[in-house]
Symmetry: C2
Subunit: 248 residues, 2 copies
């Protein structure tokens, strides 16, 4: 069987997240849309493996997924037919032949997420579905001080919605960039993995720091205590975008 790799972008606004839900639930997910089109196209049931889930309302500019198939369609034909039959808020950027052992989740070595905070006296009209309007976030220098304390390998349990678990909640954050533009702050997070809601809780916490409501040093207390209560609120989904997934 062939193993096909997809590079996907989607506007998550109207979807219940990436993951296909159980048969009894009626959610409209990205995964089920992709599987629906691929199954009709190839005349066989297709199951897609994504690099990871994205939550309801979260976007992706570079999600990666793979699936196994017997179809003889060329990669270009798969791409063009998918783009023809998918709704206009899901796009296939690239389709390629992957090695038999490629697994988009298990082989991912790092991911980059972008979070866009809109600032200024009025919400930017054209990016309103892709930003969190939070004009009180103004002090980038303080945010950078907080961000610096988050870099490296830590137990990020306190910055997540993860409940009791036997799995490790240690992750490595390689980079946090905060770019101040005219009407927007763009926060970029790169790391080897992210816990449930981790980016959005990091953003909510950094936003409080940038609004002068919390000291930068407090992030270290959250890391050490692993206490979700000590972190900031969870930022809303529409500002978040899975930018890309890295492989060896």
């Amino acid at each position: 069987m062939r193993n096909i790799r997809l590079l996907i972008e989607y506007d998550g606004t109207r979807y219940d997240g990436w993951q296909r839900l159980g048969k009894s639930s009626k959610g409209d997910t990205i995964q089920s849309r992709l599987e629906g089109v691929l199954s009709r196209m190839t005349n066989e049931p297709v199951e897609i493996i994504g690099s990871g889930r994205t939550d309801k309302g979260v976007h992706a500019a570079g999600q990666v997924a793979n699936f196994h198939t017997n179809t003889r369609l060329s990669c270009t034909d798969i791409r063009d037919q998918m783009n023809r039959y998918l709704p206009e808020d899901i796009g296939i950027l690239d389709v390629s032949e992957a090695g038999a052992r490629f697994h988009s989740r298990l082989n991912a070595t790092a991911k980059t997420y972008l979070y866009r905070i809109a600032v200024g006296p009025s919400q930017a009209v054209f990016s309103r579905k892709y930003t969190w309007y939070c004009p009180e976030v103004t002090d980038v220098e303080r945010m950078e001080q907080g961000a610096a304390l988050l870099l490296g390998e830590h137990d990020f349990l306190g910055f997540s919605s993860v409940r009791k678990t036997n799995k490790s909640t240690v992750r490595r954050l390689d980079d946090i960039k905060i770019e101040a533009m005219d009407r927007e702050l763009v926060l970029t997070f790169t790391g080897n993995g992210f816990l449930y809601h981790m980016v959005r809780i990091l953003v909510g916490t950094l936003a409080q720091i940038g609004a002068g409501k919390r000291d930068p040093e407090t992030v270290s207390q959250v890391l050490l205590s692993k206490d979700r209560e000590l972190a900031g609120p969870m930022a809303p989904p529409q500002g978040l975008c899975l930018e890309n997934v890295q492989y060896m």
Copy 2:
């Protein structure tokens, strides 16, 4: 009475254009939304003068308008209250005190319009409401040859939807820029005035040239003959944005 100047951005997707319609018609326009909020805010009927109309579905990043009022609200208060009560697809970027004789339409000396054409194997998901997806437009050099013939003062009647008129249809096009980006061509038009549908018919014609369906030289025939039939089709509204209005 004070004369107040507004700098406005709007996403035209769900509106019937800029201009307030007659009392009997039910269209939802940008002008009527602005007047509604301003009249309630100032407790007096407010009439707004825009720099010009934009069509149904066309956007603006820098529309200019003015209105006369007796209100004692500061410019900052007007801006903030308008942004609070306007829908999220209309934003007030700036409010300032204008001279008594300032008239946003009559005093405008030039305007700049942007038109975004999306290209590549799939429509860009995040800009789908602000672009015309037209992947067969590939030859920027040919488009630039056609654009060069349009510069300067001409009778643009053939590139418009204007019917018989006594008014002059001569306009001056100062600049056409065509920028090729990764998945997009951005066409920028600057001139002293634009006829009804003129930018969209120019774009439709340049797109045919860029798709190899028409020779660049043919634009001169349209200018000379003033025959609408010889020009290309009208490009759809969602790619068009009034970028800014210039005053002396």
